[in-house]
C-alpha cells in the first residue's frame, strides 16, 4: 500500500493560486506565525496540515459523517434481537439492569419492548437490517459494515454529542473534523475544510445541537466547522451586502489589499500578508459557495437518485450537497439529522425518521461508488447513543451500553457485521468498540496515528482519543 499521491491537477491549481495571489496582492509572505499554542506552521491561505507525510498509508482522503442525532435505537434498526419479541412486556431481568445508569426510566418498573419492525436479510452479504430502511437494504447493504458493539460514556444528549465529536464530555476540545483539517489540511481551494449541515425531521423531539459540536476547541479557530445553512445565506455573511455587485466588492477588497500591504511593508508586519490571503479566500468563497449550492449542473438522474431537487433543507438534499463538497475536496463533512429522540411512539416515529434519511444515505453511498469516490471517502452513519430494550411507555429511553452504527467506503470491509450484543441488546457481548476506538480507526483510515496527532494546551499534549483508543482492525480491509 503506497500513500495516495497528491494529484497533479491539485498541485497545479495550488501553484496557480499562489502566483495569482502573489501577483494580485503584492507578494504573499508565508512566514506568519499563528499566535496560538502548538500551531507553529506557516499560515498560508490554504492550510496544508501538520501530518506530512502520513503516519500510515491512508485509505481515505475525506469523511462524510451522517449523524443521526437524538440517539438512534439500535433495536429497531441494525441490531436484530428476536429474543426481545418473546420477552415483549415481560419484566426486564434484573441481572441486566442492577446498578446501571438509567436516564428517564429511573425508579420505574422496567419491561421489555420488542423490535417494532421486522428485520430482513439484505444483499449478497445477508446483512440483517430493519425493513424500515428499504433503500439502504436494497442498494448498499453489501457496501456497508454494520457495527453493533459501540458503547459510550454519556447518557444525556449534550455530553454524549460532545463525547462523540471531541472524545471528551468536557467542552472545549476540538471536534474530529477540526482535528482532521488541522492534521491533513484541506484539498478544497476555496471552501472550508470542515462543513456542517443540519436537517430536522418531523417525528421526534428535535434535540438541540450546540455549535460546540463543530468547534475547534483549543485549536486555532480557523479550524472551526463552518455551517452551511438551508435558509438565508448558505454560509453566514457569504453574500454581498444589498446593492453591492461582484465588481463593487472586488474594488473594495482591492483597496483593502493595497492599503494593507503598503502599511505592512512600512511597519514590517508579516501578519498582513496572512490576512490578505484570508481576504482572497473569503472573496473566492463568495464566488464558489453559490456555485456549490446551485444544482443546475446536475443531471436529472441525480435528482431521481436522491429523491430531491435540492434546496428543501431535507437530509437527502444535504446528502447531495455533501457529495458536491466531497468532490471539491472538503476534508470533513458532517450532516446532522436531529430527530431520533424517540421516548414515545417509537414504532411510528422510528419508521418516519428512518424514511427521512434512508434514501439520501443510500443514494449518497451509491453515488460516491458510481463516481469512484467511495474508495477514498469514509462514510459514517452514526449516532450519540442507542435506546433501551426496555419500554418507556411506547417508546425507548437513552442507552449507552450498546448501540449500532455503520461505516462504508475508504478502507472499510464491506458487507460485514462487527460486534455482538447480548440476547436483549443491552450490553456488548463481543468486540466492544469505544468512541475512542472509533476515532482511532477513523484517523487511521485517513493516514494518521491517533497517538501522534497532538496539540499542546493547558499544559499537556491533547489528542482526539485522549489517552485511549485502539484501531479496530476487524473493520478494515
Amino acid at each position: 500500500m503506497t500513500p495516495l499521491p497528491r494529484s497533479v491537477t491539485e498541485q497545479l491549481a495550488r501553484r496557480a493560486f499562489l502566483s495569482r495571489a502573489a501577483g494580485g496582492l503584492g507578494g504573499l509572505a508565508a512566514g506568519s506565525l499563528l499566535a496560538s499554542p502548538g500551531a507553529h506552521a506557516a499560515e498560508t491561505a490554504r492550510w496544508q496540515g501538520v501530518v506530512r507525510p502520513w503516519h500510515v498509508p491512508p485509505r481515505a482522503r475525506r469523511v462524510i459523517w451522517l449523524y443521526m442525532a437524538g440517539g438512534m435505537t439500535h433495536l429497531d434498526t441494525f441490531d436484530h434481537k428476536p429474543r426481545l419479541v418473546s420477552m415483549d412486556g415481560q419484566p426486564m431481568p434484573e441481572s441486566f439492569t442492577n446498578g446501571q445508569q438509567i436516564a428517564q426510566l429511573q425508579g420505574q418498573q422496567l419491561r421489555c419492548l420488542a423490535p417494532q419492525h421486522p428485520f430482513a436479510r439484505a444483499g449478497q452479504s445477508g446483512q440483517e437490517i430493519s425493513t424500515i430502511f428499504p433503500e439502504i437494504s436494497a442498494r448498499i447493504a453489501d457496501r456497508i459494515a454494520i457495527v453493533r458493539s459501540l458503547h459510550t460514556a454519556a447518557i444525556n444528549h449534550d455530553p454524549a454529542h460532545t463525547f462523540m465529536n471531541t472524545g471528551s464530555m468536557i467542552s472545549g476540545r476540538p471536534a474530529a473534523g477540526s482535528w482532521l483539517w488541522y492534521g491533513l489540511g484541506n484539498d478544497a481551494e476555496d471552501l472550508p475544510g470542515f462543513v456542517v449541515m443540519v436537517s430536522t425531521g418531523k417525528f421526534g423531539q428535535s434535540q438541540p445541537i450546540a455549535s460546540r459540536q463543530w468547534h475547534s476547541g483549543f485549536l486555532p479557530s480557523r479550524f472551526q466547522g463552518v455551517e452551511f445553512r438551508s435558509k438565508g445565506d448558505p454560509v453566514l455573511y457569504v453574500n454581498n451586502p444589498p446593492g453591492v455587485s461582484g465588481v463593487g466588492q472586488r474594488q473594495v477588497v482591492d483597496a483593502v489589499s493595497k492599503l494593507d500591504s503598503q502599511r505592512g511593508e512600512l511597519v514590517d508586519d508579516p501578519e498582513v500578508a496572512a490576512r490578505l490571503a484570508q481576504y482572497e479566500l473569503a472573496f473566492r468563497m463568495q464566488a464558489s459557495v453559490p456555485g456549490l449550492v446551485d444544482l443546475s449542473d446536475e443531471p436529472e438522474s441525480t435528482f431521481s437518485l436522491y429523491g430531491t431537487r435540492g434546496g428543501d433543507g431535507s437530509f437527502a438534499a444535504n446528502c447531495l450537497l455533501a457529495r458536491r463538497l466531497a468532490e471539491r475536496g472538503v476534508r470533513f463533512i458532517q450532516l446532522y439529522h436531529r430527530d431520533w429522540d424517540h421516548h414515545g411512539s417509537v414504532k411510528d416515529h422510528v419508521r418516519g425518521t428512518a424514511a427521512e434519511v434512508d434514501r439520501g444515505a443510500a443514494a449518497l453511498v451509491e453515488d460516491l461508488a458510481r463516481r469512484g469516490m467511495l474508495d477514498d471517502t469514509l462514510v459514517v452513519f452514526g449516532t450519540e447513543f442507542g435506546r433501551t430494550p426496555m419500554a418507556q411507555g411506547n417508546g425507548r429511553d437513552h442507552h449507552m451500553k450498546a448501540f449500532s452504527i455503520w461505516l462504508a467506503g475508504g478502507g472499510i470491509r464491506p458487507g460485514i457485521t462487527y460486534g455482538v450484543t447480548d440476547e436483549l441488546g443491552y450490553d456488548v457481548a463481543e468486540n466492544p468498540v469505544t468512541v475512542h476506538d472509533l476515532h482511532a480507526t477513523l484517523l487511521h483510515l485517513l493516514g494518521i496515528d491517533h497517538t501522534r496527532l497532538t496539540i499542546r494546551a493547558q499544559g499537556r499534549d491533547f489528542r482526539l482519543t485522549d489517552v485511549h483508543g485502539h484501531v479496530v482492525k476487524g473493520l478494515i480491509t
Partner: protein, 790 residues
C-alpha cells in the same frame, strides 16, 4: 499519610528556591537553571511516568523531586549529582537500545541533542532543584541601589536587554501611543480630536494626565470586566442542552463597578467567592456571590442529579483554579496530576469548599419556568432609580405626628399608593440565580472520576496540600476561608498569576506566556524578578490593581514602538526581552467597538441587561426547549459595546465567535488570535459593519467638505487613528470615485446599500454620493490596521 510527607518534601526544596530567586541576573546566566532550562525538559519528557502521580509512576522512580531522582536504587542512581557517568538518567538518554533509551520510543517523545546536553550540564553542576517558580514563597526582589526613581519595570527589563546587548526600540509616536493606551485601558479608540490634542501636547506630564483620565473613566472598568468575565466564564445562558437564557448581567455590572471603584483584589475575591456569607451581606455582595452560580446547568430530562452535581462541582474547581490559581487542578479529577503536585484528593477537597452552595443536579422545569434553583430579584439601573425615587416619595408622604385624622388618613392612602407602585416594580424585577449557603453536601473522592462509585474517602474543604495551608481551628473551612487563603500573605501563586495577567493586558502576552497554566508545563517567566516585584506590589500594596497597571503602562518599555527591525527580530524573534512593544489584533468585543466608535454609532451607556444586536436569521434554529426566535434589539441597544452582547454559550453571536470570543463554557485565560476568511466575510458583509460604514460615510459627507481627498483623510483618520499618507487617502478617494460612477448608473443599488442596518440613512441624503462613500468606508472598516493595536 503520604499526603503530608509529600508536602513536606516540597517545602524542603523550597529552601533552594529562595536562594535561586535572589541570585543576580549574571549568576543565573552561568549554568543551566533548573527552572528555566531543566524542569521544562523533565516535565515534557519524563514526568508523565516519573512524576507526581503515583498511579502512573514507572519503576517507582520520580524525577520531579531531588530526593527521588538521587535516591539509591540498589547501587545505581538516576541522578548522581556532579557525576554524569554514574547517572543512569544520562546513560539512558544517550542509549540507542530501544529497551533502555529514555523516553521510550512508544511515547513519541524525543530529546534533542541540546536538551541532552542541558541535562548533563545540570547533573555535572550538582543537579540542584529549585522550587517551581510559581509556587515558591514570594519575596520582594531587591532593586539595585542605582535604580533611584526609575520605574521598576524598566530596571528589570533594561538590565536583561543590556546583558544581551540588545538596543531597545525608540518610543512610539504620539498617535500610536494614545491609541495603544486607549485600547489597552478602555478597549475603545481615541477620538481624532483627542489624538490631535495629545500629539500637540508639550507638557512633560501629558502622558501621566492621559493615564489618569483613561484609568478614571468607566470604559476602563468595562475593559477589565471583559477580561475577568472570560476567566469566570460569565454568560447569559446555561450552556447545557437547551442552553436556556438566564439573568446574570447584575453580576457583570458588579464586576464593572468593582473595577470602576478600584476595589482591592482581596475584597474583590472575597465578595465573589463568599459575598453571601459575609456578616450582614449587602445586596451587592450577594450579587457578587453569584460567581458561584456561573457554572453550566442542565434542565435535560433524563439527567441524573448525582451525575450533574459531580459535573458542576468539577466545573467550579476548574474555573476557580483557572481564574485565581492559574492552574490546571481540573486535571486531577480522575488521577493525581501528571506534572504538578496536585492530588486527586486536592481536587475533591477544593470542590468541597463549594459543597454548601444550594443547587440541584437537573433543574427540571427550568426550561419553561426559568427557575434555576435559588433565585433573587435584582433591579436594572432604571428600575433601581425608580425604586429609589419611590422610596423617597414614600418617606416624604409621612404626615406630621400632630396632624389630624383626615390628614393622617390621606397620608396613609398616599403611602399605600406609593407602596403599591413599589410592589409592582418589585414584581417586575428580573430574577437571577443566587448563591445560598446550606448544610454542605458530602463530598467524596470519586475513584477515577466515576460519580457512581461511592467507595472514595469523604473529604473536607482544603486548599491543595503542597501550598501553604489555610490555618485556623477545627471547624470546617468555608468559601470565606478559601477567599482569605487566596489573598493571604503566604499564598505565592495568586499574586503571581494576577500580576502576569495584568502584564498581558498591557503587553499582549504574559511575562510567562502560558496565562492558563502557571504549573510545570507552563513557561518560566522571561523576567522572574520583575514578575515577583509586581506580585509583591499587589500583595503588599493593598491589592491595588490600578496602581500596578499604572506602573506597567507608565514604563518606557510599555511606550516603545512595536515596529521590529531585522536586527531586533533576529536577536529575539518572540520579543521575550521586550525590546519592542507587541502588535496584535484586537479581541472580538473591540472589533465591534472600533466600528461603532469610529462611525459615531456607539452608545456608551454602562451596564444593564445584555443586548441583542442583529444576527442572521435562523442562527438559533437548533436550540430547543424551548424553541426560540432571536429578537434583535433596535434603538440604542443595537449600538452598545461588545461587552454587552448577549452571551449565548451554544450559539454566541457569529460576529463575536469568528473573532475568537470563547463560548465561556470554561475558564478562558488566553484567547487565540486567529485569522480566517470568515472574519473577512463578517467585516465585509455583516449588516452591522455595513451600517457602521454608512454612518461613517454620512458623517464624512457632513463634516469633511467636498474634496474627495479631504473626505478620504477624514474617514481614514477615524478608522485607523492617524493622519493617513497622501497615497493612502488617494486609494480611498479613488475607490469612492469609481463606486460613484457605478452607483450613478444604478441608483436602486445605491438605495439598497444605504438602507442596510437598524437605523435609517439621514433624510434628504444624496443616495448615490452616500453609497459611494459607504463603499469607501467599508474599505476603511476592513483594514487590518483598524483592528490592530500597535
Amino acid at each position: 499519610m503520604p499526603h503530608s510527607v509529600r508536602a513536606a518534601s516540597v517545602y524542603v526544596t523550597l529552601g533552594g528556591g529562595l536562594l535561586a530567586a535572589s541570585l543576580s541576573l549574571a549568576a543565573r546566566a552561568a549554568g543551566p537553571s533548573f527552572d528555566r532550562d531543566v524542569r521544562p525538559i523533565l516535565a515534557e519528557h519524563c514526568f508523565a511516568c516519573h512524576g507526581p502521580d503515583p498511579a502512573a509512576r514507572e519503576a517507582g522512580l520520580r524525577l520531579d523531586v531531588r530526593e527521588g531522582a538521587t535516591a539509591d536504587r540498589g547501587g545505581t542512581r538516576a541522578v548522581a549529582p556532579g557525576n554524569v557517568g554514574a547517572s543512569e538518567l544520562a546513560t539512558r538518554i544517550r542509549s540507542t537500545d530501544p529497551d533502555v533509551i529514555m523516553p521510550p520510543p512508544d511515547t513519541n517523545k524525543r530529546l534533542t541533542d541540546a536538551q541532552r546536553m542541558t541535562l548533563e550540564r545540570w547533573i555535572a553542576a550538582g543537579a540542584e532543584y529549585e522550587g517551581h517558580w510559581a509556587y515558591r514563597p514570594l519575596r520582594r526582589p531587591e532593586l539595585p541601589a542605582t535604580a533611584g526613581q526609575a520605574n521598576p519595570v524598566d530596571v528589570f527589563v533594561d538590565a536583561l536587554l543590556a546583558e544581551r546587548g540588545i538596543a531597545p526600540a525608540p518610543e512610539a509616536d504620539r498617535a500610536t501611543l494614545i491609541r495603544r493606551l486607549s485600547f489597552d485601558l478602555t478597549g475603545l479608540p481615541p477620538e481624532p480630536a483627542e489624538v490631535d490634542a495629545f500629539v500637540r501636547e508639550t507638557a512633560p506630564d501629558a502622558y501621566d494626565r492621559l493615564l489618569d483620565r483613561l484609568l478614571a473613566g468607566p470604559h476602563h472598568a468595562e475593559r477589565l470586566a471583559a477580561w475577568w468575565l472570560d476567566l469566570v466564564r460569565y454568560a447569559d445562558s446555561v450552556g447545557y442542552h437547551g442552553d436556556q437564557e438566564i439573568t446574570m448581567w447584575p453580576y457583570r455590572d458588579w464586576v464593572i463597578e468593582a473595577f470602576a471603584s478600584n476595589m482591592p483584589f482581596d475584597r474583590f475575591t472575597r465578595e465573589q467567592l463568599a459575598g453571601d456569607i459575609l456578616p450582614d451581606a449587602t445586596g451587592d455582595q450577594r450579587v457578587a456571590a453569584a460567581y458561584n452560580r456561573l457554572n453550566m446547568m442542565s434542565a435535560e430530562g433524563g439527567g441524573q442529579d448525582k451525575e450533574y452535581h459531580a459535573k458542576y462541582a468539577a466545573d467550579r474547581v476548574r474555573a476557580t483554579a483557572g481564574a485565581w490559581l492559574g492552574s490546571t487542578l481540573g486535571c486531577a479529577e480522575c488521577h493525581d496530576h501528571k506534572y504538578d503536585p496536585f492530588t486527586t484528593r486536592d481536587f475533591y477537597a477544593f470542590a468541597a469548599f463549594f459543597a454548601d452552595v444550594a443547587e440541584r443536579g437537573i433543574y427540571h422545569g427550568a426550561n419553561s419556568n426559568g427557575i434555576w434553583g435559588e433565585m433573587m430579584r435584582v433591579p436594572t439601573p432604571a428600575q433601581f432609580l425608580r425604586l429609589r425615587e419611590l422610596e423617597e416619595r414614600l418617606a416624604a408622604v409621612a404626615a406630621p405626628a400632630d396632624a389630624g385624622p383626615e390628614a393622617q388618613e390621606a397620608a396613609a392612602q398616599a403611602r399605600a399608593a406609593v407602596q403599591a407602585e413599589i410592589d409592582a416594580v418589585d414584581r417586575s424585577l428580573a430574577a437571577m440565580p443566587a448563591t445560598v449557603s446550606r448544610p454542605p453536601r458530602t463530598v467524596r473522592v470519586l475513584p477515577r472520576g466515576n460519580w457512581m462509585d461511592e467507595s472514595g474517602e469523604v473529604v473536607s474543604p482544603a486548599p491543595p496540600g503542597f501550598l501553604p495551608g489555610i490555618g485556623g481551628g477545627q471547624s470546617r473551612s468555608s468559601r470565606l476561608d478559601l477567599a482569605s487563603w487566596m489573598t493571604s500573605a503566604e499564598n505565592p501563586l495568586v499574586p503571581r498569576v494576577l500580576a502576569n495577567r495584568l502584564w498581558a493586558l498591557a503587553f499582549g502576552q504574559g511575562l510567562s506566556r502560558r496565562l492558563d497554566d502557571h504549573g510545570s508545563q507552563g513557561e518560566p517567566p522571561s523576567h522572574p524578578e520583575l514578575l515577583d516585584w509586581l506580585a509583591c506590589d499587589l500583595r503588599d500594596g493593598g491589592w491595588d490593581v490600578r496602581r500596578v497597571l499604572r506602573t506597567v503602562v507608565s514604563s518606557r518599555a510599555y511606550r516603545r514602538s512595536s515596529v521590529p527591525t531585522p536586527a531586533r527580530r533576529e536577536a529575539d524573534p518572540d520579543n521575550r526581552l521586550l525590546a519592542r512593544q507587541d502588535r496584535h489584533r484586537l479581541e472580538a468585543e473591540y472589533v465591534r467597538d472600533v466600528a461603532l466608535a469610529a462611525s459615531g454609532l456607539l452608545v456608551r451607556a454602562v451596564g444593564g441587561p445584555s443586548v441583542k444586536p442583529f444576527q442572521p436569521q435562523g442562527y438559533w434554529d437548533y436550540l430547543n426547549f424551548p424553541q426560540r426566535t432571536y429578537q434583535a434589539d433596535t434603538g440604542p441597544a443595537a449600538y452598545r459595546r461588545g461587552l454587552y452582547v448577549h452571551w449565548q454559550r451554544q450559539y454566541l453571536h457569529p460576529a463575536m465567535l469568528v473573532f475568537d470570543a470563547p463560548s465561556r463554557e470554561e475558564c478562558t485565560a488566553r484567547r487565540p488570535r486567529s485569522n480566517t476568511p470568515l472574519q473577512a466575510l463578517v467585516l465585509l458583509n455583516d449588516p452591522q459593519f455595513v451600517e457602521a460604514a454608512r454612518a461613517l460615510a454620512a458623517m464624512t459627507i457632513a463634516e469633511a467638505g467636498h474634496d474627495p481627498l479631504d473626505r478620504a483623510r477624514f474617514m481614514l483618520q477615524r478608522g485607523i487613528g492617524r493622519v493617513p499618507l497622501a497615497a493612502e487617502a488617494a486609494v480611498i478617494a479613488d475607490l469612492a470615485t469609481r463606486q460613484r460612477e457605478s452607483f450613478a448608473g444604478d441608483p436602486a443599488a445605491a438605495g439598497a446599500l444605504v438602507a442596510v442596518g437598524a437605523s435609517p440613512p439621514p433624510p434628504g441624503a444624496d443616495v448615490v454620493e452616500l453609497a459611494a462613500w459607504t463603499a469607501a468606508a467599508r474599505a476603511v472598516f476592513n483594514l487590518g490596521e483598524a483592528y490592530t493595536r500597535n
